[in-house]
Symmetry: D2
Subunit: 144 residues, 4 copies
Amino acid sequence: MTTSGNHRDRVAASLARQGMLRQLGVELRRVEPGLVELWLPYSDKVTQQQEGFHGGAMGAVADVAGGYAGLTVAPEGMEVVTVEYKINFLASFKGGALRAIGKVAKPGKRLIITTAEVIHVADDGKESACALMQQTLMPVPKTY
Amino acid sequence: MTTSGNHRDRVAASLARQGMLRQLGVELRRVEPGLVELWLPYSDKVTQQQEGFHGGAMGAVADVAGGYAGLTVAPEGMEVVTVEYKINFLASFKGGALRAIGKVAKPGKRLIITTAEVIHVADDGKESACALMQQTLMPVPKTY
Amino acid sequence: MTTSGNHRDRVAASLARQGMLRQLGVELRRVEPGLVELWLPYSDKVTQQQEGFHGGAMGAVADVAGGYAGLTVAPEGMEVVTVEYKINFLASFKGGALRAIGKVAKPGKRLIITTAEVIHVADDGKESACALMQQTLMPVPKTY
Amino acid sequence: MTTSGNHRDRVAASLARQGMLRQLGVELRRVEPGLVELWLPYSDKVTQQQEGFHGGAMGAVADVAGGYAGLTVAPEGMEVVTVEYKINFLASFKGGALRAIGKVAKPGKRLIITTAEVIHVADDGKESACALMQQTLMPVPKTY
């Protein structure tokens, strides 16, 4: 039986192993079958030349949110690797935090297709669309 | 008159302002009209759960290499923002460094199209294809 | 004042001028602010080597549905051109028809971002996900 | 032993089965290991509302040129399906013909990555960049 608890453990265990995401400050907020939400608080570790969130940070949280959404529908003992993704940047923001919500659009044994929305949450709670991603994942045997 | 020296100053000045890239350890290696090469040495700041380079790190150096290649062809007083990019991950590697080479495919006043290759360089100098990116940039007035 | 009727006229007038879409048999089904739905009935004009709908046909209806959704939010006297799109093919089908639903994700003066879903409708009415697209449009002055 | 002749037969046999490409007027011009070139002459079957080549036609020849380039490196008895592609449109042209050159960027058993350039050839022979594509293919057993 698969529960949300199992999904969360699986995703959290993988996230804890990711040096880059720890470094940037990425937090796991929600795990459901086919859906994962990550948060990334603003800090000087994630900025570009105009002090907004760096595209690389938006790309990383979108990629990982989509990837973990895919992981929740991958068979036991498998993990997923990103084959490719495409991301549109909609606006740039300073301060607050990024919410990245990854969702499975099409599960599959050979490939999993996902989308992710990145939303900026200002300190006063105001939400604004930030980036939109579409991604292809491939299940592979877990080797660690 | 535009010289490679001016291009390098322009790119280096922007790179120095990017908190995230400093944090990850990105280095500027080559700047020519329409071409920029960045290096990213392996460290625990750029790893995923299997200890290889994180896709987010490959995405960030590809995005930035393409973006700076575009900056070398943007009018004076303008900088560029990433509209969107698409990246394919070809293989995963541990150790060594990543070389990201961004090139302008089509310059333009309203939009600039670029590509980037990310190549892994092992400690013994062996090079392997790592990722391939295609990107759309938009020139915007520089505001800082 | 903008009404759905005006939107429909604007989209229909453009569609009538498109030789390729007439050739393939594309039909306009629904026009709302920020949303356009097209249909493409199965015929030997739209098949690939295994007699399913050709990826090129799915790509064309997705591109055009997204583009016309963008047209509904573009200023009067402007039309839109496709800067780029990215499409994932989810499954292949014979017979029936394709529904392509384009939606504006982010309107804008310089760029408009859209998504499109392509859904297969079998002769018995059964619907299946077929393709998923994400697209960047640019408003340009209408020249005809 | 694999020869260019075998590659050409394999690609030509598949192309002859594609109703949509016959309809549009796509011609096979060059087949080498890892490279395929197609031509699409201008006609009222491939135009958009301003009488230039339709993006759907550019997308279709790019997709197919990349796909056939991939077919030349796929194992015997396999064909390839397009998982996804991303295309940037660089300029629009009337008259003449389109040359689409697909190339394998990374062969593989599970996935093949390709790129394609679409070039416009005017009646006087002048060539201009038209579109740029990056694509993911999946080898599958041939079923016909």
